[in-house]
């Protein structure tokens, strides 16, 4: 099973910005069942967001983020049938939208297709799990927890094997769990093979062709080194009004996740644009092969994150759906993934001082956080199909489901029971 990660990016008519903002505000208040896009009824959807971003020189943009199961062509018909009236209202606020009515299915789908932006790089925390599977496995785990509670209460938790047998019986005897044995692999062998093959072929090709690229790249690196020693960096704290607006939306009661939308200006000149493109391409190549077990470069808390170069290379859009607090997320980046992160964002303005593209930079915590806050933009509406679950929590539930009905030796049985 593959996921699709994309955004629809459209320019907003100047006179409609206020109107659209209000609409998105309403959606944001009730993402599950609002009248425009009732996200809960989109069964393939994991996370979605609307971001209305205004910037001098660019005007207003609407970024509609969608992270879902299957392909775009699987998803679009459902999106249309659940939300055509609302989407028509929303996109009527946008430029070059000429669809006359919500009933024009063909016109609307073509409009959406025409504005798809696929990310240059992305990361998925729970590889291969559909939204439906995530929710089902959560119910299974909850039921097993209850059953485990009653075993403990009644003194029936006598041995690993006895408990395991009881839980297996519990699942087998109730038809509502008939789906439990049917779990497919999180990542199929061909998927793994393709990702690793790409990585290896690229690596080999890079070595073989090094006589051609090595010297030009080293020269460019010296140019870059000169540029980064003179690029201006952030000197003040983040804009306090901005931080307030952002924090107002963060850490909603009942949710263990947060959303981050960030749009940064790429430093001027073709060298920075080209560097950014190459870095993201490399990140994506590595992430496809290596970041398939829940963590991206040691960061265990990202559900879906994506980077897209937009506006002909002049801006970088980053969207992330992550677990826990902003502070924790940023500190994880600093402590565990500073190099990759610096490699990407050092090509954007005001980033803290770097050395050879990937060193320094994000390690300057206070400056990096100030830049990160300033580059963030308020998320107008945000939906998660599972507010209360972390990447780790989802993986844990999947493992329970995958292992539960196997015959397990005592080591494996006790490992299985520790998951509860």
């Amino acid at each position: 099973m593959t996921h699709t990660i994309l955004t629809f990016i459209t320019a907003v008519k100047q006179e409609q910005v206020g109107n659209l903002g209000e609409m998105l505000g309403q959606i944001g208040k009730n993402p599950e069942t609002n009248a425009w896009v009732p996200f809960r009824s989109l069964k393939q959807l994991h996370f979605a967001s609307f971001v209305l971003h205004k910037a001098p020189g660019y005007g207003a943009y609407l970024v509609f983020e969608n992270n879902f199961d299957g392909t775009l062509e699987d998803y679009l018909p459902d999106l249309y049938s659940q939300a055509c009236t609302g989407l028509h209202q929303i996109y009527s606020c946008c430029q070059d939208y000429s669809v006359a009515s919500a009933t024009d299915r063909h016109g609307m789908l073509n409009y959406l297709r025409a504005h798809v932006v696929r990310p240059n790089a992305y990361h998925i925390g729970n590889t291969g799990r559909t939204a439906e599977r995530v929710l089902r496995e959560k119910t299974l785990r909850n039921a097993l927890e209850q059953q485990a509670d009653s075993l403990v209460r009644n003194g029936q938790a006598t041995s690993d094997q006895a408990v395991l047998a009881n839980l297996q019986q519990f699942v087998r005897s109730d038809p509502q769990w008939s789906w439990v044995p049917g779990a497919g692999p999180r990542e199929t062998f061909p998927e793994k093979l393709v990702a690793w093959a790409k990585l290896i072929v690229t690596g080999v090709a890079a070595v073989v062709l090094s006589p051609i690229w090595l010297i030009p790249v080293l020269l460019l690196l010296l140019v870059l080194r000169y540029k980064e020693s003179t690029d201006p960096v952030q000197t003040d704290s983040a804009d306090s009004d901005k931080v307030q607006q952002l924090m107002d939306e963060e850490n909603r009661t009942g949710s263990v996740q947060n959303h981050m939308a960030s749009i940064t200006n790429v430093k001027p000149g073709w060298l920075r644009r080209a560097t950014l493109w190459v870095v993201l391409w490399t990140v994506n190549l590595l992430a496809r092969a290596r970041a398939t077990h829940g963590s991206l470069s040691g960061i265990p808390s990202i559900h879906f994150a994506h980077w897209s170069i937009i506006d002909n290379g002049r801006r970088l859009l980053f969207l992330s759906n992550f677990d826990g607090s902003w502070e924790n997320y940023l500190d994880d980046f600093i402590d565990k993934a500073a190099i990759g992160l610096t490699g990407v964002w050092s090509n954007t303005v005001n980033f803290p001082r770097t050395y050879f593209l990937i060193f320094g930079g994000a390690a300057d915590g206070p400056r990096f956080k100030a830049v990160a806050r300033n580059s963030q933009t308020v998320t107008n509406a945000w939906y998660s199909a599972y507010w209360d679950l972390t990447v780790q929590g989802i993986d844990n539930s999947s493992s329970i489901r995958e292992d539960l009905l196997n015959s397990l030796d005592s080591t494996a049985a006790s490992a299985m029971l520790r998951r509860l």
Binding site: S240, N251, V256, G324, Q392, S414
Partner: protein
Amino acid sequence: MVELERKDIQGMVVSAYKHLTCSAYLLLRVTNPVGARTWISERLPGVTTAETKHEKISINLAFTYTGLENLGLPQKGLDGFSFPFQEGMTAEYRSRLLGDIDENDPTGWDWGGSPEDRVDVLLLLFGEDNATVDAELQRQQAGLADRGMKVVKTLFAGREPNTHEHFGFNDGIGQPVMEGTGNTRRQLQRTNHATELPVGEFLLSHPNVHGVIAPSPTVKPEEDPMQLLAVVPPDAAGLNAEPGMHDFGRNGSYLVFRQLSQRVASFWNFLDKATCAADGASDPAARDRLGAKFVGRWKSGAPLVLSPAKDDPKLANENNFAYFDKDPYGLSCPIGAHVRRSNPRDSLGPDPKTALNSANHHRILRRGRSYGHRLENPLIDDGEERGLHFICLNSDIERQFEFVQQTWLNNPVFSGLYDEVDPLVGNLAKGDRLFTVQAGPLRRRVQNLSRFVVVKGGAYFFLPSLRALDYIGKLQP
């Protein structure tokens, strides 16, 4: 070895004044800035610095944002403080992340909860006994009104016979050591363990754990005509602190103050009920064991990781342990136990070294003290107020104090758990929270925890350097 500017640093940064067992905290409001500045200048010679230890009394002085604003600190200086300090503890979204909702909501606090209740200045008095503290308090209070200061509230603390907090557990064992204080040896002797952290984790304008200067508020040279403050050198510019500016924040620290009321009887009655026999008979040993599971240490202070089966007073101050190798699954010390949540050490993530390094980016210097009398029978409530005046020092409120509070203590999914918060101080809002005691073959989930600790007041203060105190006292209208 880092050389501290000891004359410039307030004493409580380097010492918890353990020899001064009693204390009083005066929460003050500025009614007339001119008088208040004179008052500060008059206090200056009496403020205890990190240079000398006083046997009888120590005095320290801290300010809220409104305090510095009312005393006339230039706008550039005010703007250079971190957001949490500028906004205070009670901004709505801060309440959410700190767990200050429902019963903990600032609107119900005894102090610090509303703008009408404004606190500007905190005067901390530490004395060898109650008489000394009372005498000093009298002396300090006498001239206040003449100097444009008003007492909002007086809090007392530190009357406990030992270092145990009110639930009965030995407290204050694990503490990071600030480089340059020379406290490492003492800490090693006392607890067999010491984590040294850079000065910039606690004092502004010094290099922090990231090796960069902890951001510090500065003023323009012309705003410091008497040259009282240090000048920012070209090679040590931090955020907001351009070279040549005068450094107001240097050697100062953010001081977090929270009054935490403890419901001792409901804590022990809950444990009693959760561990009683089928016929309802109490099982004191099981009760203490579950209490220790909540805390992560036995009453004596002995860590569960090292002594899982029973209390061991020989390990009362032992702090030389970690989780990754000894107790990865929480079978000795539960994953959600208070001490494990408030300092997870090497336990978060697949690599213990990275995890420990990361955890040490979120440490605080604790300077809190218990208040109120010990409850004689922990199972029978006497209706009296008691708890902890939690005080801590750090250079980055968001990365240190708030992080511990939000990402560790109040996080329902901390370290792979589901839907539970810290059993002692967590936001146990609706009595539906649980606590998991990991065990084989199955864990036990203790259900329906209620709130055992209630927030009664709090504020973010700044504990300035002596130079900065002198500067405030001499500010011109």
